[in-house]
Symmetry: C3
Subunit: 310 residues, 3 copies
């Protein structure tokens, strides 16, 4: 039951959001199958240029410190995300999910990355799991991703297990390296991954989810893509590059428009089709009422690039 995750927030300016003390170190984690030795990312290779390369000076340093995804940490994460949601400058959040001994970080930027927050890596803190509040906090954080006003992208390498797998399943979209894998191994330790199953069962076909949950065995990145847990798989050396390419594209668009659209998407998906169309038709009308909606239409007619006021 390992989660190792990094959070990057791509916005218009830096913030004091993540300027806090390092969190408590890893104590006891459920981590089966992680590759501790490979937790640190290779820095020797530069991603090949694909037409949207990041200047090396713009590429953020990735997290190095490791702390447990304890209940206290989940609470911090939750309040951080909630606090940041109010920032109009925030454009995209990238959650980096890696092996058991990988890490979680918060980064911030103006166009490019500008700020970097504290980092941690983890397996679940057993105390967090055995605490009655533990599972509920996990659920709150996972739902927060869906309810957050900016797109949240998972970037995966290595093995994402249990809450790590749940985190990937909960993100809006997910990019993974072709060597990554995904498992819900709780049954091996007598704890069925029931809360991860809520996210997993909504991301992949029922038979795939149940085979993962019943056996605890991992599926490959290709299988995860095939079954809908990922939206994109790339070679490990392109993982950061490809994720940043998507993040930059998203960050170049109107934030209020994306925010309106994201909320409408999840809202309508839970309704019957007629209600879904009623809701989204109204969303189209509201979208046209936004300054950036008006600007987009004007720019289209005038055959020029739109200038968003956000």
């Amino acid at each position: 039951m390992a989660v190792a995750a990094g959070l990057r927030a791509l916005g218009a300016k830096g913030s004091g959001w993540l300027r806090r003390d390092p969190w408590a170190p890893l104590t006891t984690g459920f981590c089966s199958g992680g590759r501790p030795g490979s937790g640190g990312r290779s820095r020797g290779r530069d991603p090949p240029s694909r037409g949207s390369g990041t200047a090396s000076g713009q590429r953020p340093a990735w997290p190095k410190r490791r702390n447990a995804l304890s209940l206290a940490m989940l609470k911090s994460l939750q309040s951080d995300i909630l606090h940041e949601a109010e920032s109009q400058d925030l454009k995209v959040i990238i959650i980096s999910v890696s092996d058991c001994l990988s890490s979680l970080s918060f980064l911030f930027s103006t166009g490019n990355f500008a700020a970097e927050g504290p980092v941690f890596s983890s397996g679940h803190d057993l105390k967090g799991l055995t605490d009655e509040q533990g599972p509920d906090y996990h659920a709150e954080v996972m739902m927060l991703i869906q309810n957050h006003p900016v797109p949240i992208i998972a970037m995966v390498s290595g093995l994402a297990t249990a809450a790590g797998c749940q985190l990937v399943a909960s993100c809006d979209t997910a990019v993974a390296s072709d060597t990554s894998s995904f498992a819900t191994p709780g049954v091996n330790s007598g704890l069925f991954c029931s809360t991860p199953a809520a996210a997993l069962g909504r991301a992949v076909p029922r038979k795939v989810a149940l085979e993962m949950l019943f056996t605890g065995e991992p599926i490959s990145a290709q299988e995860a893509l095939l079954h809908g847990l990922l939206s994109r798989v790339v070679p490990e050396e392109w993982r950061e590059e490809e994720t940043m390419r998507i993040a930059r594209k998203v960050a170049s668009l109107s934030q209020p428009v994306l925010s309106l659209g994201k909320a409408a998407f999840y809202w309508q998906l839970a309704q019957d089709l007629r209600t879904a169309y009623h809701l989204t038709s109204q969303t189209m009308v509201n979208n046209l009422g936004l300054p950036d909606g008006q600007e987009g239409v004007k720019a289209f007619l005038q055959k020029r690039k739109p200038v968003w006021s956000h």
Copy 2:
């Protein structure tokens, strides 16, 4: 936000349905990424024989004229489909969806195609989108496909964007050429494709839908097949052939049986499993009560081909 579509209705006899004046020409459309030069279909190659070839005399000419998918047009399309639903001779509708500068046509036949209707191609009429009624009419037309008593097949080539992508997502099944692609690029113009998202989000996994909606970037035919937006991908030169093969197979079956089954399918899908089984068990009983249900069982027992009374 382009839709370019062709409607073919495969039935037992022709009709006056489509005998109307050509619609108004294309005015203003959201069309990003379409390939105007390739809108006309290649006529130089014949599809290779695959055991179910159409005699060349039977193959309909494909649409050449182009008009906007305006609000007025949607209303026409809606009333046409509604009117034709009453025809007992109608067996299959094929909606051809192509590049921005492609076209929409209605064809009719006795066994083979017999009648051909007016054609158009389009991007969305901006007036239609900015009109408060616009999105609602889109929704009505899309739901009509699901509520229509005959199977409706999308046949796709080129780039299907926005409402075109929504149209493909809304059809019962969809055949596409391997060079086709699919996008919801509204965000580029400040208009999130919210109504297309209602159809798209029910056809492909959430992560795939959101990446398309957040970035506006296209997915390939193979990705669309992988993720459930299509039921079949074939080389471009087999597209018409394969679509017609499926259409003819469907047209050879009992229309009342297909109609009963299609309605039950969508109905039960929105229910919990117990209710779904209760509904479909009753449908089986009703099916056996149909003349064609009785004939099918009799023919099976007598080891002969059934003769449908429809």
Copy 3:
């Protein structure tokens, strides 16, 4: 409309469950496309060793007798499954689904297989289908699979049609040989596969389900995997081996934990996300309260293999 199925129950001890007279012979079946000559499984090849080989003495003999899946049989099957659900020794059920002239068997074991029950093969009994109770009983048996406390694995070879396809769609997970295929051919005989559609429509994307239902044509094992009807496809000679490997892994885990998890999985899947997380958070707490949950955590902390009390 053929179903040919075999049931294997992998448990801790044998039972008298399946010790009954052979059922009535096949009378009238809807069987299109089955390969009668290949119904008997090849015994000449041993599966290649993949590190988890079954000793040849442990591999059960597969069923040879054939009987119809009549209404009476469904009732027997239902009461058998219900009766066996009370056994604390039962760990896994394997339902073998094959060609029209294949068979159904019940096996039991202590660790390995220990008991084998009567076998049958079938197409639907027309009487069962025309009987008003027929479809309801089919539905009851299919829902029983989902409500059963142990994991139920489909093992498929050959062509699984109609109720056979429904059976595969209804199982928790499904392993199939790469030469197997899946169809709902009822429309050919004037009977739309409406009850199979309830299971199929919940396993594969809507467009794939409707193309199968509208045309009656089969999809391949690879397509079935691609679309979520299967969780695993292997070469025919590895089919038993791979299925048994999964079954043994599942049988090595805590039965009460799997049972709790399986019930929670289906329960939460029908709820909105918030309710789903509320339910599964409570399930995590309940899981920790089980003796095997406590043992699993203890064993993890003590870095030893857990010993389940079940």
